[in-house]
Symmetry: C2
Subunit: 130 residues, 2 copies
Amino acid sequence: METAGSTRMTYPYDVFDDRCPTRMMLDRLADKWALLVLDRLDGGPVRFNRLRRDVRGISQKVLSQTLKRLERDGLVDRTVHPTVPVSVEYALTPLGRTLTETVAAFAHWAEHNMEAVLTAQAAYDAAAAG
Amino acid sequence: METAGSTRMTYPYDVFDDRCPTRMMLDRLADKWALLVLDRLDGGPVRFNRLRRDVRGISQKVLSQTLKRLERDGLVDRTVHPTVPVSVEYALTPLGRTLTETVAAFAHWAEHNMEAVLTAQAAYDAAAAG
DNA sequence: CAGCATCCGCTCGGATACTG
DNA sequence: CAGTATCCGAGCGGATGCTG
């Protein structure tokens, strides 16, 4: 409970305020790749190339960037195993684990309501055309 | 019903497959502005300029685009009131309402765990610098 | 009030090549 | 295997001006 350094008092965080740090956080989480990686890590530690293969469509560069950001944010833990060749495991931190339930909820929502969305899109497009 | 790990093969849809429609859906939802708009609409119907003011930092163009996409996806309903001048209300559809709980969970997570994230970032940066 | 049209900078992200 | 480095095209999104 240090008061020195970054003195942010019991200041009410608000995502609707564009100057609030939570807005930046939302920007980070509102990322397709980050969500997929977090969701994939929910099953347990995963190695880099395995992650690359499982999250289909992600490039090596973007996966690397995404993991680095998640690690910096304290959501993901990076462990290097000194084997030959080196293997690196990525896992959720306790903090990251507090988030995956919400992330999974998103993925499940998409999977469960895809039909309804596709139907709505078709209806919208038909109305616009006719 | 596999025993090891969490399996999710109940539905044909799979967000990890880049050719699956849900991937497109995730891409839509994984948008800062869309999430904020949906969260704001959770309180009830809101007019355009009110939305523009409340979701701080959003531009008129982006708000317009976002609302149109959400409407097309069947998540938001657009109602024009023939007053002078015209007023337009945006509200969640029943489908959209099934999503807001998850969206709100995201916002709340950010607001509750911001301190931890900022601390993690500071530690990461300090380690990188030293 | 609630938009659309246009210009354009800037970042995201894909492709490719190389390293420990 | 697990990355880093670089190039570069596409598009997101901000600023501005105009309309019913």
